[in-house]
Every structure is written in structure tokens, then in C-alpha cells.
């Protein structure tokens, strides 16, 4: 009994202390009515302003880059009397002699990117399906970090790998006399679009695997069970239910991979050749847009020169290309998103 009373008294005392604490924190008029108006909160305001600045900085950077690219490109178009049609359809890129056709560079970018996607898409999707649907948990846990390792290799290493391994390998296969090439003519030049394209595909592969696997594993278990419950085999379930349901995510993965291929510089700078060449044959040398910018801007380049301004027009073209791909990716994701529930 006694101890119970004590405990009760203690409780009263502690409530009293708590009241005192809160009395100091809460504000009140002299007559005891509470003050409910806002008080100054400097940290809240500072945090909000800092966060706004962070968000704005990225937007302003983008706008700034776009303005500089647009401005310098515009100078090229005005100073050289260049028309947009001429720029987009011209088949020769020789700024010194007044030829500003983007096609030689654009075609090389398209060739290397398409080859990269032809390598990365089927392999990446296949690997994603295996990892997500077939692989035992332990194997999957072991393979994923290895894939991420592949994504961490610097692209200059990939470029070196293209020129010192893939190109000689392909030249050995294609150029030596064989059933398809009885005379041993040089089909594949030392600088070409195939070798860097394949290597870019390997570079992009982890991105496709990782994004596609996320898309596949997001397909609800209930849909798989529905399919199995109707007597579908594993592969039928994958083809008819899981892949269609994951389509938007897979499409987004492919577009992201394609954007990386279009923007990739080091691999093509090393292995695709040192000069523009308008030829849709991927076996011959041809410099891509990115490789051309890298080569020209690393030499002597005087401000306001034709070469200088022409680089910005390539940069702007690249910008619109990747912007277009990103918009396409968003559109596909929204358009084909399957609402499961």
C-alpha cells in the first residue's frame, strides 16, 4: 500500500516538472492565454533556401549549357551563311573549306550505337531473364556484383580493349582467307565502327541487365501464379505474361542504354578512326560526333574560329539527340505502363 502511494506521488511530481519544461517552451500572454502566432525559425528558412538553390543550380546549368551551345552554333550558321537543311543533309564535314554536313559524323554515331544495341539488348535481356526468373538465389547474389563491376570499368579501358583485342580479333576472322572471303581482301579496316560498337555494347550490357531485371521483378507474383495455374510452362509465362507486363521498363532500359551509346566518347575516339567519313559500311573508319569533338577540341583551337564554332553545332546536335531519346523513354514508360492493380 505504502509503496503504491509513493509511486502516485512521484508521478504527480514528474507531471509537475514536465509542465514547467513546457511552460518555458510554449509562449503565453501575461494573463496565461497562449500565443499561437508564428515564431522565427531561421534554420527552417535557411534549409529551404539551400535546397531551392541546389535544385535551381542544376536547372540553370542546363539552361546555361543550352544557351552557350545555341549561341555559338548560331554564330556558325550566320557567319558561314549555313542553312539548317544544308547542315542536316550535307554529306561532307570539312569546316576549313566551308562544308558543314553533319551526316558523316551522325552516320558514324548511328552505326556504332546500333551495333552496340544489337549486342547489348538481346544479351542484356537474356541475362536479366535468367537472373530474375531462372537463377537460384545464391547464383544471383554472386552474379549481380560482378555485373556491377563491369559497369565500373572506365571507358578508356574499354577503348583500349577495343583497339588492342577486339579489332585484331575481328580482323583476323574477317580478313584472312576463308570460305566467305576466299581472296583474303581487307574487309575490316583497322579503324572501324564494328569493334567499338561491340565493345560499347558490352559496356552498356550491365545497365540493360540491371534495369530490365528491376522491371521483370516488379511484375507481381499473382500474375505468374495465374499463368502457372492455367498450365503455362515457365517460358510461356515469361513470354506471354512477364515480358509484356515489364515492357515499359525494358523499353526505358533500352533507351537509356542507347543514350549512353550515343554519348560515349572514349571508346569511339580510340577505335573508330580519326576523320569524318560518310559511308554506311560499318567496316570502314568513320569518326563519330563525340570522337570528333574530343579530337578537335584537344588540339590548338582558337576562339571564334570556324572549327571552334562548328564543334558547338555538333554539341547541340548531340544534345537534341539525347534529349529526344529521353523524351521518347518517358513517353514509352507512360504509354505502355501496365497498371497491375
Amino acid at each position: 500500500m505504502e509503496s503504491q502511494i509513493k509511486a502516485g506521488q512521484q508521478a504527480d511530481i514528474s507531471v509537475g516538472i514536465a509542465r514547467d519544461v513546457f511552460r518555458n517552451v510554449r509562449r503565453a500572454e501575461a494573463d496565461g492565454r497562449p500565443i499561437l502566432t508564428q515564431r522565427a525559425r531561421p534554420f527552417e528558412d535557411a534549409a529551404r533556401i539551400f535546397l531551392i538553390l541546389c535544385a535551381m543550380l542544376s536547372i540553370f546549368t542546363t539552361i546555361g549549357i543550352l544557351l552557350v551551345l545555341g549561341n555559338e552554333s548560331l554564330l556558325l550558321f550566320i557567319n558561314e551563311g549555313l542553312s539548317l537543311i544544308e547542315f542536316l543533309t550535307g554529306t561532307e564535314w570539312r569546316p576549313q573549306s566551308g562544308s558543314f554536313g553533319i551526316l558523316p559524323l551522325l552516320s558514324a554515331t548511328i552505326k556504332t550505337s546500333v551495333i552496340a544495341m544489337l549486342v547489348a539488348t538481346p544479351l542484356g535481356l537474356g541475362a536479366a531473364i535468367y537472373l530474375g526468373e531462372y537463377a537460384p538465389q545464391r547464383l544471383r547474389a554472386a552474379l549481380k556484383p560482378i555485373l556491377e563491376l563491369l559497369a565500373g570499368i572506365p571507358t578508356v579501358v574499354y577503348g583500349y580493349f577495343a583497339i588492342s583485342f577486339m579489332t585484331p580479333l575481328l580482323r583476323g576472322l574477317l580478313n584472312s582467307p576463308s570460305f566467305f572471303n576466299p581472296n583474303g581482301t581487307e574487309i575490316l579496316q583497322f579503324y572501324n565502327n564494328v569493334s567499338p560498337g561491340i565493345i560499347m555494347g558490352i559496356m552498356i550490357f550491365p545497365t540493360i541487365v540491371s534495369m530490365s531485371e528491376d522491371a521483370l521483378s516488379a511484375v507481381p507474383r499473382a500474375l505468374r501464379e495465374a499463368s502457372y495455374g492455367l498450365g503455362a510452362t515457365k517460358f510461356e509465362t515469361i513470354i506471354r505474361v512477364i515480358l509484356p507486363a515489364a515492357l515499359s521498363g525494358i523499353a526505358a532500359a533500352i533507351i537509356v542504354g542507347l543514350s549512353r551509346a550515343v554519348g560515349e566518347t572514349m571508346i569511339v575516339a580510340l577505335a573508330s578512326g580519326a576523320g569524318p567519313n560518310y559511308d554506311w559500311n560499318p567496316f570502314v573508319f568513320a569518326e563519330t560526333m563525340t570522337a570528333h569533338i574530343a579530337r578537335i577540341s584537344s588540339g590548338d583551337l582558337s576562339y571564334g574560329s570556324v572549327d571552334y564554332e562548328s564543334l558547338f553545332s555538333i554539341g547541340l546536335t548531340l544534345f537534341f539527340l539525347t534529349l529526344g531519346l529521353n523524351i521518347l523513354s518517358r513517353w514509352i514508360t507512360n504509354k505502355f505502363r501496365e497498371v497491375y492493380q
Binding site: 538465389q137 501464379e225 499463368s227 492455367l230 498450365g231 505474361v241 507486363a245 492493380q341
Partner: protein
């Protein structure tokens, strides 16, 4: 041909069936026979293994890593767990309707035609007939006949569940397993599914897991009551497994249960 021609009065005969998940006993020694073209209800508290037993009947447990079934499980006289038995073939004869309606994100037509297409039926007119008949059998035809191209997900929950039933009967199974098919539905949609079950049982064997004892009483011919057993392990971890307590004609099980545990459960004292 469908179940109407099968000789045996029983669709399933289970003898001492145990189910294990990763070597841990989940369901202990179930022995029961399920009559053909009757509705058999599985009732019992959560975790008693009634869904596990149901999923053992069409080898759906195979999809869960570490799941293992021992004992004798016969479907129309055949051992379901014989090494030569292909679970894919099993599931083509034993359809399943799930707790949450799970139509594919495809059109109503493609949902129903999914199973027949798997079986290799490609002819448009045949598929049209199957889709129409299945939707009619699922009491859904009148509501959707105008727009079979509409996504199955655009339907209401109750309609979705009837679409899933139509999809299941489109492959003419012998048995339809239903895992709490009404637990996500409102009372009116539930009523529609119950009416449908009473119609379907003329042609198919139905096994239904339900939490709703009223539902078991309204629709089923036989009821199996499962419960939970617990034991403390040496390491102090408690282990639980399910077992079959009582199996009888529904009317008898609810009015004159032989087990005191069944009686307490149906009076709502636990579970």
C-alpha cells in the same frame, strides 16, 4: 472429356500427406478424400495450413523454393507426386482461382483465351466460342459482351474474380481450386460468386478455402476443419504446424462436430 465421365467418385485421395517448407513441417499427415462434383470447403484459423493443402493439390507449392510434399496424393487415381508427373499437365486439369483477383493486364478476350491458346488452339472461331461460353458460364457475358477488348483490369473486383473463373474454366479443367476467392470482395460480389459456384459444381469438382464459416455452410457439401499445433523446440523457438482435425458432410460438421476444438472454432471462440 470433362469430369462427368470419370469413373471414380473421388477427385482426390490423400493419405498421410505431409508438406514441408525448407525441412520444417507445415502440414502434418492429412488423410482425406474429396468427392467429385461436390464442393468441399477447407476452414480453420490463419496458419492452419488449409491453403497449403489446397496448393498441394495442383502442385502450386512447387513454385515455392524448399517446399516438399510427402505421402500419397492421388488425383483421379494417379499419384500427383510421381516423378514422371509434369506439374504443367497437372495444372491444365486442376484450375485455380486466387484470393485476390489477378486478371492479366490484357483484354477480357485475351484473358479468357490465354489457357486455350497455351493448349495450341489458334482458330479464331473456336476461340470465340470458348470465350463466349466461358464468360457465360461465369455469369459475366451479359456485362462484358459489348466490349471484350476492354482491359480485364478495368472491371470491378467482383467482375475481375468472375473473369478469373471464366479464364479457369476455359481450359475445361476437372477441378477448380479456390483460395479464399471472396475475401477481397463486397457482399454483393460474394453472393454472385457463391451462386456461380453452386452452378459450376454440376460440372466441376470444387475445393474452396474460406475464412467465412457462413460461406462454407451456404455452398459446401463437405467441410474439412484444420487447426494448429505448437511445440517448443530445444532451442526455445516455437514451432507450429497445421493438421486436419475433422472432415465431415458440412451439415453434420456444423451441427454435430465430433471434436471439441471444431465446436469451439465454429462457435467463434478462436481463429
Amino acid at each position: 472429356m470433362s469430369a462427368t465421365n470419370s469413373g471414380s467418385a473421388y477427385s482426390f485421395e490423400l493419405k498421410d500427406m505431409n508438406v514441408y517448407y525448407s525441412d520444417k513441417l507445415a502440414v502434418d499427415s492429412v488423410t482425406l478424400s474429396i468427392q467429385a462434383r461436390k464442393i468441399t470447403a477447407f476452414i480453420g484459423p490463419s496458419g492452419c495450413g488449409k491453403s497449403t493443402v489446397l496448393r498441394a493439390l495442383n502442385r502450386m507449392n512447387d513454385l515455392i523454393p524448399g517446399a516438399k510434399v510427402t505421402g500419397d496424393v492421388r488425383f483421379m487415381g494417379r499419384n500427383l507426386y510421381d516423378p514422371n508427373v509434369d506439374p504443367v499437365e497437372v495444372r491444365r486439369r486442376i484450375g485455380m482461382v486466387f484470393q485476390k483477383p489477378n486478371p492479366f493486364p490484357k483484354s477480357i478476350y485475351d484473358n479468357v483465351a490465354y489457357g486455350p491458346r497455351l493448349l495450341g488452339i489458334r482458330q479464331k472461331s473456336t476461340l470465340d466460342d470458348i470465350v463466349e461460353n466461358s464468360l457465360k458460364s461465369a455469369f459475366l457475358w451479359d456485362e462484358v459482351k459489348g466490349d471484350l477488348k476492354k482491359s480485364g483490369l478495368a472491371l470491378s473486383g467482383g467482375q475481375q474474380q468472375r473473369l478469373c473463373i471464366a479464364r479457369t474454366i476455359a481450359v475445361e479443367p476437372e477441378v477448380i481450386l479456390m483460395d479464399e476467392p471472396c475475401s477481397a470482395l463486397d457482399p454483393i460480389a460474394t453472393q454472385a460468386i457463391e451462386d456461380l459456384m453452386l452452378e459450376l459444381v454440376k460440372k466441376y469438382t470444387i475445393v474452396i478455402v474460406t475464412h467465412n464459416m457462413g460461406q462454407a455452410q451456404r455452398v459446401s457439401d463437405f467441410t474439412a476443419f484444420y487447426s494448429i499445433r505448437k511445440a517448443a523446440e530445444a532451442d526455445g523457438i516455437e514451432r507450429r504446424w497445421g493438421l486436419l482435425v475433422e472432415y465431415a458432410p458440412t451439415e453434420q460438421l456444423f451441427s454435430r462436430p465430433t471434436s471439441e476444438e471444431t465446436e469451439r472454432y465454429i462457435r467463434g471462440e478462436f481463429g
